[in-house]
Symmetry: C2
Subunit: 391 residues, 2 copies
């Protein structure tokens, strides 16, 4: 049993796929999000999408950081995580504007006060204001905040997005084909719409990252931050406190800030890309749960994905790996390891995408290519080793 499974999480979500097998899976089997007929508008040229996601266990990191530093503003970052995890999934099907959003917040009122609710809700509102400046308009139509301390140990921050979008502008991944290249958009750094350095971690693998990096101090002092039935061997087995410093490119950051960097959205980049060059994108993958293997779920047929020019993993991933001792195979299956968005395109179009990302301060490069094959397979060619997956 993997350490991941022993912590009660599963990167592949086999049970969930089994549970939903009787549901309508939508119009386009390989699209990143399920798309349905335009029930809301009745127009055969439109699709409807409802998408749900959230900050997951990253809210626990925010809780611990807030408890240790008193800094309530960290909760605004959790709001951004909940939004970006939805929004960046929707970008992958071509939706970049005119979205509706509703939040669902479940809290333990004994531990989570009104000031935190206010930070989450205000953080969401401010984030939408920022995104609107880049042409990404999201309407905040309210939501539900429930006091359910007997269910929730601390707080769960989730959101649901709805889009009605013209079929002429959707991306179904059906056009992904051998011969194309993959442009990766970096998950770390400081881009034009971020106020400070982003570690690149995003909001996936946070259960692992938290337990692997943080020390037993957190098990002792914050029993409300983990399931008590977990084996002691998998609970807070790292060496750090959130307030410890870690140097990135010569600059010191607290480990808390690195772990809590709000998930970078690529919406400003993708919005402009699809407006200026609507035909270059043949497919798009948000490297969320499943990390660098995520693309394999959405290939439209047998082909081989070779990623042989990946970004060097940002320092946060080295920190996690140093603490956990996980091998590269596991790291690349759980974390994005450097780019959280990848665009499939013809080789001749790659330059346009890279140049446009650069305008927003987002590093981008060709990270791989698609080759012919008689099965779905993936090779991650790292500097010193090759990792292979078959599906």
């Amino acid at each position: 049993m993997s350490i991941y499974a022993r912590r009660g999480v599963s990167a592949q979500k086999e049970e969930v796929h089994q549970a939903i097998r009787q549901l309508d899976q939508g119009l386009y089997p390989h699209a990143f999000c399920k798309m349905y007929p335009d029930f809301a508008g009745g127009d055969p040229n439109f699709v409807n999408i409802m998408h749900a996601d959230g900050a997951g266990t990253k809210s626990i990191l925010a809780y611990l950081y807030w408890k240790e530093t008193g800094d309530v503003s960290v909760w605004k970052g959790i709001a951004r995580d909940a939004v970006a995890m939805n929004l960046d999934d929707l970008l992958c099907v071509g939706v970049t504007d005119n979205l509706l959003f509703s939040s669902t917040i479940d809290r333990n009122k004994l531990l989570i006060g009104g000031d935190i609710l206010e930070a989450v809700i205000e953080g969401t509102r401010e984030y939408f204001q920022l995104l609107a400046e880049y042409g990404v308009n999201i309407q905040y139509l309210g939501g539900e905040t429930a006091d359910v301390g007997d269910v929730v140990r601390t707080i769960a921050v989730n959101g649901t997005m709805m889009a009605r979008w013209p079929k002429s502008k959707i991306i179904t991944n059906q056009a992904i084909a051998a011969g194309q290249v993959i442009v990766g958009l970096a998950s770390s750094g400081t881009c034009a719409y971020e106020p400070s350095y982003n570690s690149g971690l995003g909001s996936n693998g946070l259960t692992s990252a938290r337990h692997d990096v943080l020390s037993k101090h957190y098990a002792t002092h914050y029993p409300e931050s983990f399931e008590p039935g977990l084996s002691e061997e998998v609970v807070y087995v790292g060496h750090h406190r959130l307030t410890d410093n870690y140097t990135v490119d010569g600059i010191e950051h607290s480990i808390g800030q690195l772990l809590l960097s709000p998930t970078r959205t690529y919406a400003p980049v993708i919005c402009q890309l699809l407006r200026e060059h609507p035909d270059v994108v043949k497919g798009m993958i948000h490297c969320s749960g499943g990390g660098q293997t995520k693309c394999m779920k959405y290939l439209p047929g047998p082909m081989k994905v070779v990623k042989d020019n990946l970004f060097p993993p940002p320092p946060i991933f080295s920190l996690i790996q140093q603490n956990s001792g996980a091998d590269d195979r596991e790291m690349y299956q759980v974390f994005n390891m450097g780019h959280r968005m990848e665009i499939f395109a013809e080789e001749t179009a790659a330059g346009k995408i890279i140049d446009l990302a650069a305008q927003f301060g987002v590093d981008a490069k060709v990270v791989g290519k698609v080759q012919p094959s008689d099965k779905k397979e993936l090779t991650l060619q790292l500097p010193e080793k090759s990792i292979h997956f078959e599906y």
Copy 2:
């Protein structure tokens, strides 16, 4: 500090209202749900609504019942609760058809297996099939199921509904006025679209109901079912096991079945009512959190609501009150006590509503009236006492 507050819940949600005060509150200040311009369709004659709600702590009751009886089907009822709590809110603004639904399920994978996820999702799907037979069409557009055992002790089942609806058919509560009567639709009994007796409890006040009715057995054997920081004096202070029997109208039911009766939706009744008699409904209130005082939040101006012909409280509420010793004032503020939906109408139209409800086996009657006043006030005239509220 009330026992309700000591359990970390608040019927009035003061902190939530404070936290959302800067959000756009929608087009119609007195409407039961927030309604917004038609961002999705751009038609000035339509509104958009996104609504989020869930089964709350009722999922804990399902967990305990499932643990003690092995009956997985109880989770299908939780699915119905999560749907009905959304749907019946939307009924109050006149939305009865063409809805979109997305579910958000957070689970502790160590305790909640794939069979339970499947029951929740299949229960949702089956419920939509049933409702479609009554002209209430809800499209299930997927959702998110997350393994977050460090956040969620057992399982949280939430859902979000989206509607795009013509302004010509909405109900804003603006037409509620002195001189009208209030028709209440019973929350208990067995109506035409329910397979068995419904206790009428719904999905509000379940934290209280669970702790007040169930015995310390559950604190001892299921520590995962409550917040460990709660005072022992408020945790499982009742006298019963879920498998104990309780007689209602000469028929024995287990207390678990009574507490877990899936929330009755009034959608089939309201759908037909608004189709056949669109002009009779002047306002509509779902007596959810806040119980029989809920209407006071939505009155369009100073007036006095007098409810002087309420249904006798169904036996489940007597059971709760016997165990908790709560006074009537508190009971009527937390629980629906007999009717969970109320329709404001001219006296001459009441008969039409009552007759139509009867066609579905839903008891209905005039439970009260609206009188002139210089302030917003409410009197609940019970057989032996009067309870007064001012706002």
